[in-house]
Symmetry: D2
Subunit: 228 residues, 4 copies
């Protein structure tokens, strides 16, 4: 099955599913709030560069789009958060990988290695937060929710990888914690065919709005600078 | 596209994806631990009976399978947890729905209504826990993790609905919290075509083992009763 | 040692401690924000009425003060939350008491009993939240943080019992989660001599502002009704 | 009031309070479990060395006692966790201090500074976890609970500073999360008179067992090495 055939098949399913969802009252719009933050999930070298078990596709599109979002976010001085996933202890019975290495190759994500550093094409600036998380969600076992609430954030704009794990789980937790999740369609990626499409479909049906980057940039452009 | 055509198309994608995942070190087996609990997600009438916005498919298979799992779990006296999703305040600006009613029809899940009661074909017994959660995950904003740790549980056997929301999010949180998630393939369901398949595929690749019910029943049958 | 002698001795210690704290930069003022909620901790009959293991002192002052705070809060339509502590399973190895019954007599707090119902002198109204928590903090294992964030609350006004456990732990979690905690001095209580004083001292030094009720009522009176 | 007079006055109160607590069923013993971890709270230079706003008293006793506990813990290969409190951004509106700098001088705890490094007299070894937390509790906004559960820990032995904030809040969260907290009386400290005594009293009444170091060392000595 070619990539086009796959996408066509999935679009057919999504159309049928959407008819049911809309009749049932799912796929509502949560919309943008007044005080956003930009959250870039796992755009570290292990995901953005070739040759790692975690390497993702599509970075030639994602990285420039995240650059545009970062520029807009910095101009409006909204909080910017990066996550990476990194482990201090990758051997023995007392690892901070917990149980996750029994499902995925977490052991290659060593704290302090180049692999887990944020890609320098979108390098963090002083004042940004870089959170080294241990699990899929940017909220799970981190200070992210408390940080965002103290900054009176009500909306999280989400980019990064992977859509089938960390991006999706972050979106699920964001709405659960009381933040409006906006996932930027052309700024998220993954590593195997199909998973971007079906996870964005599920997210948009139930957890957050999946929006094109132009809509997000227009929203950021319209923000004022008062009270930030 | 017929149901058979959809499944065939998805199986083709999954085979291609699995080849990549296995070469990269994903899709590992987490396996069963020594002290399981049974977690039944949202098998309340809104999901298990016809006529609700949340009604799911396949209950003629799921309910009997959950009955078999419950019988095995009760025989070995392992902890049994049911969840439902229910809201006290479904109007006005201060609702316990939080932001979720901006994506899904949460307002039909009124606390105290028949819709949010556990289906009486699989009724809770004295000594079971019934958790009225507010979000997708059975762990988010509930005492589940603390309860399971105090009971020294290391494995959670997961059934229920829906695979694309509450079951999946519970599985993601379970491994994050340090429990081995086992999702019972023939005891979980959803309401639109395709989502059961692709979410079980994602779960099995990254968050928990998706296992046939016979394997799970065999495991429960082999447990001893010491220290429970 | 009489009650007056105890208070005098404690005041002497607090004065000496405060000198050190202020020189070091502790005991700062967090202040009131713009969007408060009122959180009443465990003002259920087990705490407010005589004859229970959990019975507290001072309810002849606390209850009328909470009535005044409730009236002011209802007038300004701010979110109102009550907590109680209640358990479904108080026997056997799989209790929702977790490990807490190994320190305190949690087994008398049976869900559904009159003991764990909110005192009817300060009865909840439709639209209020009543959270049955399992642990000391109103935030731990509950949906409180997500609820407050979704309602864009930035300040929590805290009353209830006990200062040495649930009130204090709620205050610690409130600031950690990004909410400004204000503890109402004449609306909190406990059951043994001294603990109110030293816990309010610790709270005010490090976690939240302890304020007289008149200051809190004046603040509520000054709130406008816009955007609530 | 001299230090002796203060302690005598507090002992008088504690005796009166204990009579009430024991009659009511508080001050129970939680006891040691089978799989402990050692958690050293904020024994970084800001707390253990002179000249910092956070400097504590009693390190001439605490540090040697923690050395003894570490030696015993390493011999039995139990998990060892250190925490420190450190902030990446200590200026501007988007700080990871959240709201805490409005109560305490959190701004002196800069990530990467010598102040927030663990005291080298009790230096972490490869395989230990060092968690840079943002809040008082070692559990709040960290992966500690998930890590401990994945390692099947059931008991946490707690040392460090300060008793009136981070040690106490960690103990409260530990029992809430399902771990048996044991606070080592001669291995915890604080910076102002009285607070060690009244917080250990409250902890022992309600949240965890406060035990002399000899009891803890004897327990560790009796552990076998199987399954660690």
């Amino acid at each position: 099955m070619s990539s086009e055939e796959l996408k066509a098949a999935l679009e057919t399913v999504f159309a049928a599913d959407s008819a049911i969802y809309q009749q049932r009252g799912f796929q509502r719009r949560i919309g943008f709030g007044e005080r956003p933050a930009l959250i870039n999930i796992d755009l570290a070298n292990a995901w953005t560069r070739p040759g790692n078990a975690f390497t993702c596709e599509g970075m030639e599109v994602i990285i420039p789009n995240v650059q545009r979002l970062l520029a807009a976010a910095r101009e409006k001085r909204i909080p910017i958060v990066y996550t990476t996933t990194a482990y201090e202890v990758t051997e023995g019975p007392h690892s901070d990988m917990g149980l996750w290495q029994h499902k995925i190759p977490a052991e290659v994500l060593k704290a302090g290695s180049e692999a887990v550093e944020i890609d320098d094409r979108i390098a963090p600036q002083p004042g940004d937060q870089v959170i080294a998380k241990k699990r899929a969600s940017a909220f799970h076992g981190t200070y992210l929710a408390g940080f965002l609430r103290a900054a009176r954030v009500d909306t999280v704009i989400i980019t990064g990888a992977t859509v089938s794990a960390c991006v999706r789980n972050t979106t699920e937790d964001a709405i659960a914690e009381g933040f409006r999740p906006i996932v930027v369609r052309e700024a998220v990626g993954d590593r195997v065919p199909g998973v971007v499409e079906w996870n964005l479909f599920d997210i948009d049906a139930k957890f957050g709005d999946v929006e094109p980057i132009d809509t997000v940039l227009q929203y950021l452009d319209g923000l004022d600078l008062v009270n930030r």
